[in-house]
């Protein structure tokens, strides 16, 4: 109905007031049937034109007909196609390329990990900005203002939890992205600098996640000097600012300079047809665009649903610098660092070397500077230099660079080794390895920990201990001799007592000879109970400690999971 000729006329300058003027002049003909038809036609045309103008203003140039064609999956109507112009002329859309190589858009190839990294980073920026309205970055006010966000601000807990969840997912997705790019060989030339920028982004991500875990001024804040303001500025300004700049550079190189890497098997296929088909271009609009919108809709729903119904950010007690909890809290993505400080693998080997061979490397190796600073920096340098080392290795053997797995067995093996290494040292970094505290302390720590201990894996609830989980209402006042509760029970409280008793008995050989346990629950204040676990044993030698006591307080309302 709306022909191209007319459309051009509407662009040539015929504006709405003119249309209305024409319409008014036609009102004189209403008496004849012909005139009525003409008025109806003109009215329809005027309204259509106005709507078309409005849609064009909103869609950066598309008319109604083209928007409809776009949604129906029809080819573009207007020529030259506005569908492509919009990707080069409008600010927000010009970030996206007009076309992609067909084989690079396969979900199974990239798993959209880069896309989701950006998605979660945006969620971080939005939720983080909202929280900045309430958070106060001073050691005295930080904890309370965080409590205020959770307990007094409408939607506050949702935002707090969404920030926490998407932070964890961001670290996870960024890690997977790194693994994907490494294993598919996508980091090789010409994308070497893209990889380097990516590693810098990984470091920024870990830095942001760590500074963020400190800001609520919970017990984990004891790792930092009491200057919260600088941590806050790093977390909210410097790290995300640098991140934005680097993301821009990273994304520019991916989308404009080299494109997403093709699947290696297709890129290096001996079959010319396969190679050509892999490089065929597909339009970004509308299919790929709709796919991304769908991903966003699904991810947003999953995030909001998780934050509302499933996962709440753990809340530990406020930091007390005079009182280091055991074990000190540390986020899961840095456990490998603490694992290195504990190190049960290399250090014993070096000690053996010193004692048997006489070469003393242990003294140097076993220092905090080496394990906590120099070694991580070396790792970072190794990661940053990986594509260049890889190219040098190929050059050394006189081989041409190949991304195929079968041509880089050593590289893949090293990658898998690094992955295992991270997993192993993360496990070593968890508090249950090695059990270094005396048995009575360890048992108390298991059932009545000083504080809720963050889980060693992302997004699992913190462990506040069985006594806190049972809570105020489930702890009847009294003194309980655990010896009388040896058998497991269906009820929660007697079963807790028997569990502790079993642990005490198991530890008999480890130092708790004739171990006896008592759990004392006292009414301490209005709605407050005091719970004490006392363990006594026969010491190996006179003068050694023969008892240990641990106390926690539980309020009626303090709902621990």
């Amino acid at each position: 109905m709306f022909q191209r000729e007319e459309r051009r006329r509407s662009h040539a300058g015929e504006r709405l007031p003119v249309g209305i003027k024409n319409l008014l002049s036609a009102f004189g003909d209403l008496r004849t049937a012909d005139g009525r038809t003409r008025v109806a036609h003109q009215t329809r045309e005027t309204v259509w034109r106005a709507a078309d103008e409005a849609i064009r203003a909103l869609s950066a140039g598309y008319g109604i007909a083209d928007v409809r064609a776009l949604l129906r999956g029809d080819p573009p109507i207007e020529k030259p196609t506005l569908r492509e112009q919009v990707l080069s002329r409008a600010f927000w859309t010009h970030f996206r390329p007009r076309t992609y190589a067909q084989s690079a858009t396969k979900f199974s190839h990239t798993l959209a990990l880069g896309f989701f990294s950006v998605f979660f980073a945006f969620v971080q920026i939005i939720t983080g900005t909202l929280m900045m309205f309430f958070y106060e970055p001073s050691p005295e006010r930080a904890y309370q203002s965080t409590s205020k966000i959770i307990g007094q601000v409408p939607f506050g807990q949702l935002i707090f939890d969404a920030h926490y969840i998407s932070a964890n997912l961001l670290v996870l997705v960024v890690g997977l992205h790194l693994a994907r790019v490494y294993l598919t060989g996508a980091f090789k030339s010409p994308r070497r600098l893209t990889w380097v920028i990516g590693i810098l982004l990984l470091i920024l991500t870990l830095g942001s996640a760590f500074t963020g875990s400190v800001l609520p001024m919970e017990q984990s804040a004891i790792w930092l000097p009491p200057d919260l303001l600088r941590v806050y500025l790093l977390h909210t300004g410097i790290l995300p600012g640098l991140g934005l700049i680097l993301v821009a550079a990273h994304y520019f190189r991916v989308s404009r300079l080299h494109g997403i890497s093709l699947p290696a098997g297709e890129e290096e296929s001996p079959d010319e047809i396969v190679r050509a088909r892999a490089r065929e271009r597909v339009n970004y609009l509308p299919d790929l665009w709709a796919r991304e919108l769908l991903w966003i809709a699904i991810a947003l729903f999953v995030l909001v649903a998780l934050a509302t119904f499933a996962i709440h950010a753990p809340r530990a007690s406020p930091a007390d610098l005079s009182h280091t909890p055991s074990p000190a809290a540390i986020p899961w993505f840095l456990l490998w660092l603490r694992g290195m400080l504990k190190d049960p693998i290399v250090l014993p080997m070096l000690l053996w070397l010193r004692d048997v061979v006489g070469i003393d490397l242990a003294q140097f190796y076993d220092s905090r500077a080496w394990q906590g600073v120099i070694l991580p920096v070396l790792f970072a340098l190794l990661l940053l230099g990986a594509p260049y080392l890889d190219a040098g290795w190929d050059k050394f053997w006189g081989r041409s660079s190949s991304r195929l797995g079968r041509n880089r067995k050593l590289g893949i093996a090293l990658g898998v080794f690094a992955l295992l290494w991270v997993v192993v040292f993360t496990y070593i970094g968890t508090p249950n390895f090695p059990a270094s505290s005396p048995p009575a302390v360890a048992i108390s720590q298991e059932f009545l920990p000083d504080d809720c201990a963050p889980a060693p894996l992302p997004l699992l609830p913190a462990d506040c201990g069985e006594v806190r989980r049972i809570g105020y209402a489930g702890l009847p006042v009294g003194t309980y001799d655990l010896g009388q509760f040896a058998a497991p029970s269906a009820e929660r409280f007697p079963n807790l007592l028997s569990k502790i008793q079993v642990r005490i008995r198991q530890a008999a050989a480890a130092g708790l000879a004739d171990g006896r346990g008592f759990l004392i629950v006292e009414d301490w204040q209005t709605n407050l109970k005091k719970t004490t676990l006392r363990i006594t044993w026969t010491p190996r030698a006179p003068g050694e400690p023969d008892a240990f006591e641990k106390t926690i307080y539980l309020h009626k309302d303090s709902a621990y999971e």
Partner: protein
Amino acid sequence: MSTQRRILVGLIFTLLTCLTLAVVALNDLGRDLNLAPPDERTAMELRARALEGRTIETGADLYSRYCSNCHGRRGEGVAPVAPALNRKDLFDGRRANQVRWTGSLESFLKSAIVAGRPIQSRPDLYSARMPTWGSEFGGPLRADHVSALIAFVLNWQDQAREINAWTLAPLPARTPGAGTTPGAPLTGPARVCQGLAAPYAGKKSPFKFDDKTILAQGKQIYDDKCTACHGAAGKGDGPAAAALNPKPANLTDKNLMQSLPVDCQFFVIAEGVKGTGMPPWKALGDDALWKVLIYTRSWSGVP
């Protein structure tokens, strides 16, 4: 999947997100929007109460570490050292009136904890002077710790008892002399031992100084009663030490311990030192004091 279907499924998910947000809005704002019964607690209120409850737990823990030595484990006071806290006249305003406090009860407690008492209000009844606990005055407690402590103390309100010790007796006229002048320079064994007399002068330990059992028992008492000020290793650097002036003695100092005879140290532990944070401990009984004394002297090795 075709583009139309993607848009459809995306719309469904967007709708689900909106529904979830509506659930959150009901949880957080149900009562404000007149969508929930007025007597039912909203999820947000439950969260706020949970956090308040945890604040009281934190306060209870802080109280047991910093305050219970002098004010009693359950706020009942330690007769010659410091007054009770779970007392009615604190909560009904009589005590605040007495010291002409015009602010809220909470601010009264805050000022007492953070700034301490520059001058003891009842030196005739209590030997210890309330030190400055707030970090802004050199103490160990941050502002949020102080609020947690206050939340814990205020939670005694319903169980507070009627105690008459300080409401009835008029304040005595202040007499100049040792013990009432705040911060008197009472350092050094020579000054501390001035008042040494019977029954303390020449007193001897009923236990041997190298008995391992006695040392272990002494450590237990020391860890319970003395670490807050003197520190776990006896260096005078316990968490409460920062708030005290004069500072708690460094019990590992060989010179100090050599110039402090055993009977004088026993006298100091039993009777306390006026004008300092050291309270009298004689209520524990002679045996307990000797055990602690033997344990503390094991650090310097001076018998």
